[in-house]
């Protein structure tokens, strides 16, 4: 007894599921090849519409294969292998060098402060005050290191996010051997609530704004 249309559809679905399980990620070029082979064997048995449709499917397979080849030619993997590691190393070096320089400046300032302290107990109080005023300005300026360090940390975190996403794109469109290694896209690190880091000057409240806001609570 022939299958009813519904039973036939269910059987087809079940078969497709089995095929998907056996071949979860078929290469587009392989699909195109199979379509071409099927077309060759069915030539003469298909209507003009069916032949055109299968031809479109084969063309689609070729287009996907060409797109993959173009992506591979772009050497997107260089972004992760060379560019991002190099950029983060450079940024780390900037933080290290400026920290070193700041420490050296602070050490020199502390020496000047000690000299100013000795002048103060003698007769040259005015010179002492001038020296201390100068070192105060230098201490204030040195706090740039903290702000730039926090800004660079934010940039490095952004680069690492880009790195993870590029790795996933490469795995999906590039080298199929990496698929098993890449796994799911890593979750982005949770952003601690209320930890935004320094704002760009145009967006940030200054001390006067903060003083007003605090005063509004009184």
């Amino acid at each position: 007894m022939p299958d009813t249309p519904l039973a036939g559809e269910a059987a087809l679905r079940a078969r497709l599921d089995r095929i998907r399980t056996r071949h979860p990620d078929p290469a587009p070029e392989a699909v195109a090849e199979v379509v071409r082979a099927v077309l060759a064997t069915l030539e003469g048995d298909l209507t003009a519409t069916e032949t055109a449709l299968l031809g479109e499917v084969a063309e689609l397979g070729r287009t996907i294969a060409a797109a993959k080849a173009e992506i591979a030619a772009l050497r997107v993997q260089d972004i992760n292998v060379n560019h991002i590691p190099s950029a983060t190393d450079e940024l780390d070096a900037i933080v290290a060098h400026t920290a070193e320089a700041t420490e050296s400046i602070l050490e020199t300032c502390e020496t000047l402060d000690r000299v100013a302290g000795k002048l103060a107990v003698e007769t040259q109080r005015e010179l002492s005050a001038q020296l201390q005023d100068a070192t105060t300005r230098i201490y204030e300026a040195c706090s740039f290191q903290d702000i730039t360090g926090q800004r660079i940390t934010k940039v490095v975190a952004t680069l690492k996010t880009i790195e993870a996403k590029v790795a996933h794109i490469i795995a999906a469109f590039g080298d199929r051997r990496r698929d098993a290694e890449s796994g799911p896209l890593p979750e982005e690190p949770p952003v601690e609530e209320l930890l935004h880091g320094p704002q760009l000057p145009a967006n940030a409240m200054d001390q006067t704004d903060i003083d007003k806001l605090l005063a509004s609570f009184d």
Partner: protein
Amino acid sequence: MTMDKSMNVLIVDDYKTMLRIIRNLLKQIDFNNVEEATDGGEALSKLRAGSFGLVISDWNMQPMTGLQLLQEVRADARLKTTPFIMITAESKTENVVAAKQAGVSNYIVKPFNAETLRDKIEKVLGHA
């Protein structure tokens, strides 16, 4: 009545250069008894073990942030009235509001200058 500059001051920042800068600025305004901590947890231990007249803390630290430190201080029966100044690059309204709600005594945004530090300390210690 003059400000008691012999009091112990605890400065908290995970960035040692910043600790050094604040310590030197405090020294220039005659606060010489300054202790340091590099995160909220260490600060809390020092506060519970000692006697401090003022806390000056950064916000962005791990594992315990400056805000969490402030909340712990305000929840501690012995420490809850200790003046607490937040010095931070976090300048969003929500941060200032959260700090105020947690009981911050004053709030300084980085980068700051010596004059602002002195002014806020005087206000907090009641001698503006």
